[in-house]
């Protein structure tokens, strides 16, 4: 995977370019011949029923799923998956400090927590939080670690109305800064100007795979 070394926003190169991507999982073709390009400031919504390969596509772009054909060139990305990525025995602040150290991010943990509406929870162990609160702490890493490309898998899950509004605001900020977002969701994301990619459910690959 090629990582863009240029400063964010200064690049005319697309932040994500996928060419002729095909993905087969357990003998079933999820998608094939997928080509797309995402430039700075663009948002792509992934739609499709369960099992259509939205998560697999995101994991492939993130670099967590290697069994695909075709090419993926992506800028430095942040992946937000089904598992929140929040350690239960640690406090919200400790979790975010760890993230800041890992990605050499500059954001302060307290500011990030305030941004996601979790101010005052810095010293609370995450195992004492609700699922929605844990997701908010997880969202704070999008603030702490900066990356030109966000890969969000169902970011609205377990969030209340204000939490969902928060996700939309974070996405809008990211686009405004010149980043790009790929987001798989069942609900409507309501981001203006977002492109939509509809993935369908295919027949088992036995018939479709090329010889």
């Amino acid at each position: 995977m090629l990582r863009s070394l240029l400063p964010r926003g200064a690049s005319l190169k697309p932040l994500l370019s996928i060419e002729n991507l095909g993905c087969e999982r357990d003998g079933r073709l999820l998608f094939g011949g997928l080509t797309l390009c995402l430039a700075a400031g663009e948002c792509l919504e992934l739609k499709g029923p369960n099992g259509s390969g939205k998560s697999t596509l995101l994991r492939a772009v993130a670099g967590l799923y290697p069994d695909y054909t075709g090419t993926i060139e992506a800028a430095q990305s942040l992946y937000f998956g089904h598992r929140p990525g929040v350690s239960a025995v640690l406090t919200a602040e400790e979790n975010l400090r760890w993230y800041a150290a890992l990605c050499s991010g500059s954001g302060a943990a307290a500011d990030a927590l305030a941004r996601v509406g979790m101010a005052g929870y810095e010293r609370v162990a995450c195992q004492h939080m609700s699922a929605g609160q844990q997701r908010r702490v997880a969202l704070a890493r999008l603030v702490v670690c900066e990356a030109p490309l966000w890969l969000l898998d169902e970011p609205l899950t377990a969030l209340d109305a204000s939490g969902q509004a928060l996700v939309r605001a974070l996405i809008a900020d990211q686009l405004h800064r010149g980043g790009a977002v790929v987001c798989a969701t069942h609900q409507s994301l309501e981001v203006s100007g977002a492109r939509v990619l509809e993935l369908g459910v295919r027949e088992p690959a036995a018939q479709a795979a090329p010889g």
Partner: protein, 253 residues
């Protein structure tokens, strides 16, 4: 065909299936001839050992199986490296196909070693350096086998086994050395098995023939397993369907 071309073509299971058919037969026939010749010569015509008498003839089973069992593990290490670096499908199949043969040969070496121990040392089991190393090797094989069985996803299982095989290959020389040293600590001077170079030619030539034969058997077995594995994994593709249809219609390969 240059080596580079061959390397490139090995990436295609279909090409390998076509190419390997004659080799499968040839190696199988060669293995049968060599093993028959070596075994008959070794068991019937070679002179008995002046120290051990007739029982030394177990060497014609023990040594070839032990040698090929270790070679098979080395091959898996190489296949693991190829799989992790170049993502070659065939390497994963080699990894999967070698384990049963290697494990069988290790078990055979252990069994023949035990059977040899009875007349030589008067006991079925001796913690001889070579036999102990083979026992550890058997556990390494069992680990690889168990890991592949435990991981449901085929591609993942292949890569996981590749990592394990590589780590194992790096460790095998150290394990062998440490076991050798351990033996000097606990037993002092041990009775070493008769080394081939010190044997008269009537004794070691059949042994060499059997070693060659067991390598051919390994090759034939590996290719046979690979061909089955290829058909199974590529069963959805056009060429396998055509092949099956042709076979069903009574045609050749």
């Amino acid at each position: 065909m240059t080596l580079k071309e061959l390397w490139h073509r090995l990436g295609s299971p279909r090409w390998f299936y076509r190419f390997s058919g004659p080799w499968h037969v040839a190696l199988g026939v060669l293995a049968a001839l060599l093993l028959t010749a070596g075994t008959v010569w070794g068991l019937v015509f070679a002179p008995p050992d002046y120290q051990q008498g007739e029982s030394f003839r177990i060497i014609y089973v023990h040594v070839p199986s032990a040698i090929v069992a270790q070679s098979a593990y080395l091959l898996m290490g190489a296949a693991g490296l190829v799989l992790l670096v170049w993502r070659m499908k065939l390497a994963d199949m080699v990894l999967a196909a070698t384990v049963p043969f290697g494990m069988t040969m290790t078990a055979l070496a252990l069994f023949s070693g035990a059977a040899w121990g009875k007349p030589t040392w008067g006991t079925w089991w001796v913690w001889d350096a070579r036999i102990t190393s083979m026992l550890v090797l058997l556990f390494l094989y069992m680990g690889l086998y168990a890991l592949r069985q435990a991981i449901p996803r085929q591609e993942t299982a292949g890569r996981a086994c590749a990592v394990l095989a590589l780590v194992g290959v790096i460790n095998i020389p150290i394990i062998k050395y440490s076991v050798d040293w351990w033996l000097t600590l606990h037993q002092g001077a041990t009775f070493t098995l008769t080394e081939p170079p010190s044997m008269p030619p009537q004794m070691w030539i059949p042994l060499a023939i059997n070693v060659l034969g067991v390598y051919c058997l390994f090759g034939a077995n590996l290719i046979g397993r690979l061909r089955v594995e290829i058909l199974e994994r590529e069963q959805g593709t056009q060429w396998v369907r055509e092949l099956v249809a042709r076979q069903a219609a009574g045609g050749g390969r």
